[in-house]
């Protein structure tokens, strides 16, 4: 047991000197940081603003009035991206978990599934997302299968889900493999079957461990939903494109980019914090 902190403590004169010295050092560091930032950012801005084409760029990319005019159409497009992200994200979670479990199973009855899951991950992780979107978006309707929707939003979502399930499956699988074998040995020695060991001991720990990288993938997913615009889905990217090609003013692209950033930057910050907390927790856990 540690001693209770003595409330009557007052810092010694030596400690007061040290505190002042620390304050001086940190003040000096703040000045250096500010000066360096002003110089670097200032020169970058100067280079851009004094460039020969800046007047034209300013008019075609940063036209505030036009930006305001297209804002409603772009933001209603962004709503499609968000829907796609959340509905797709839910499907991806379920499929990826299934794939990860299939790939880590040792049960002989599931051997063909293990093989199929591996092939699936290889294919969809290895092919560019944009190709998968084009193949699904134009290939599936060409099959003229009865009962399969040829709605481009649906097909675009399917393509994104197919690809991201492969990415996320690998993240979950790496989490499963990162759980120390001694945990499995302990569970099995209590008589739990391999399935129960996975469900009650391995998976809960594995998922907790991979939440930060999964949040990263979630940010990427939101951005990549912009790719379904090539199928003609009127998402934020497509809405910006329509407006831009109508007037040859590219401000709508900047508006779309800023809207994406307004969502993704807070998400990335949150993810970074989650990763840091996770790392700290793991360090505290020591050998586990």
């Amino acid at each position: 047991m540690s001693e209770r902190i003595n409330s009557a403590w007052s810092p010694s004169s030596r400690e007061k000197e040290r505190a002042q010295a620390r304050k001086r050092i940190s003040r000096k560091q703040a000045v250096v940081a500010a000066v360096s930032s002003i110089i670097v950012i200032g020169s970058l801005l100067t280079i851009v603003v004094t460039s020969p084409g800046w007047a034209v760029v300013k008019k075609t990319f940063f036209d505030i009035n036009y930006g305001r005019e297209v804002f409603p159409t772009v933001i209603s497009g962004l709503w499609i991206n968000l829907q796609l992200t959340f509905i797709g994200g839910a499907c991806i979670g379920v499929i990826a978990l299934g794939l990860a479990l299939m790939r880590t199973t040792k049960s002989p009855a599931l051997t063909p599934f293990r093989f199929l899951a591996t092939a699936y991950v290889d294919i969809f992780r290895g092919a560019p997302l944009i190709l998968i979107i084009l193949l699904v978006g134009f290939g599936v309707p060409a099959l003229r299968l009865h009962g399969i929707s040829s709605n481009v939003i649906f097909l675009g979502t399917v393509a994104v889900v197919l690809t991201y399930s492969a990415y996320v499956a690998e993240v979950i699988r790496s989490g499963i493999l990162s759980i120390h074998p001694s945990q499995r040995a302990a569970a099995r020695s209590l008589g739990l079957t391999s399935g129960q060991t996975m469900r009650y001991v391995v998976l809960p720990q594995a998922i907790r461990r991979v939440v930060p990288p999964l949040l990263n993938d979630f940010v990427s997913l939101l951005k990549d939903t912009g790719l379904v615009s090539i199928l003609g889905v009127t998402d934020a990217v497509r809405a910006a494109q329509i407006n831009a090609s109508r007037t040859f003013n590219y401000t709508p692209y900047v508006v779309a980019a800023i809207l994406f950033l307004l969502i993704t930057i807070p998400m990335t910050r949150y993810t970074d914090r989650a990763i840091r907390q996770r790392t700290n927790a793991q360090n505290a856990e020591g050998a586990i």
Partner: protein, 248 residues
């Protein structure tokens, strides 16, 4: 005489390394068999083979006369009759103490939650850990964690308890609180096979001490015979080294 556990001519190798070499051992009910020997002599591997966590290359293992080394046996059912405690505790870090203990009774033995919790609380009270029931393992000291691990293995009412150097990861002050549980279990009549480096403790609980060297039992007998009056030169040498290290 019927034995709880019988090992006959066990052989086990990892790659080119022969870890258990023609080892035979019988364990009677209500007795404690202590395995001693240098690191790498095969003590841990032997315990893991008994619990079917490792497969054997040759020989037979019988539990209550049933051959459990038969490849057709249901390993989960065998393990339900065996409790195992590990050197590194291996508690489940995402579960509380109580959840760690009740997991197997609920999921494996299909007891009701109330029944499992009652039984777990009785054990926790007996070993002075009742106030830790809702804590997570990382809030506990090493000695407390190992005591919880022992209780977890007791909760499935094992026929035989396997203890694999359960105090080796603990500092000397905490060793005793763990060993006193084992002494209690011994006086309850629990059948145990344990690997340990604590020779004083071995003297107190062992009905039979086996000295392992290069995967075989070189000398066996009562604690008095093996630990205090060893006949084999290698046993004498090993005990001398243990003595020099201040562990006897």
């Amino acid at each position: 005489m019927s034995y709880v556990l019988e090992l006959s001519h066990i052989r086990k190798s990892f790659g080119n390394e022969l870890v258990l070499n023609d080892l035979s051992l019988s364990v009677q009910e209500h007795t404690a068999t202590v395995l001693i020997g240098a690191s790498g002599s095969g003590k841990s591997t032997l315990l893991r083979c008994i619990n079917l966590l490792e497969s054997i290359d040759d020989g037979q293992i019988f539990l209550d006369g049933v051959e459990i080394s038969d490849p057709l046996i249901n390993v989960d059912e065998v393990r339900r009759k065996l409790g195992m405690v590990f050197q590194s505790f291996n508690l489940f870090p995402h579960k509380t103490v109580l959840e760690n203990i009740t997991l197997a009774p609920i999921k494996v033995q299909l007891k009701s939650k109330e029944e499992a919790v009652d039984a777990a609380m009785t054990l926790l009270k007996r070993f002075d850990l009742a106030d830790k029931a809702d804590q997570y393992p990382d809030r506990l000291s090493g000695g407390q964690q190992q005591r919880v691990a022992i209780i977890r293995s007791l909760a499935i009412n094992p026929r035989l308890l396997l203890l694999d150097e359960i105090t080796s990861a603990l500092d000397p002050v905490l060793v005793n609180e763990v060993l006193s549980i084992v002494r209690d279990l011994k006086s309850d009549g629990m059948t145990m096979v344990l690997a340990t480096h604590e020779m004083g403790f071995a003297t107190q609980v062992a009905d039979e001490v086996c000295f392992l060297e290069s995967g075989n039992i070189l000398e066996r007998g009562t604690a008095q015979e093996v630990l205090h009056n060893p006949k084999n030169l290698k046993t004498q040498d090993f005990l001398k080294r243990v003595h020099q290290a201040g562990r006897l």
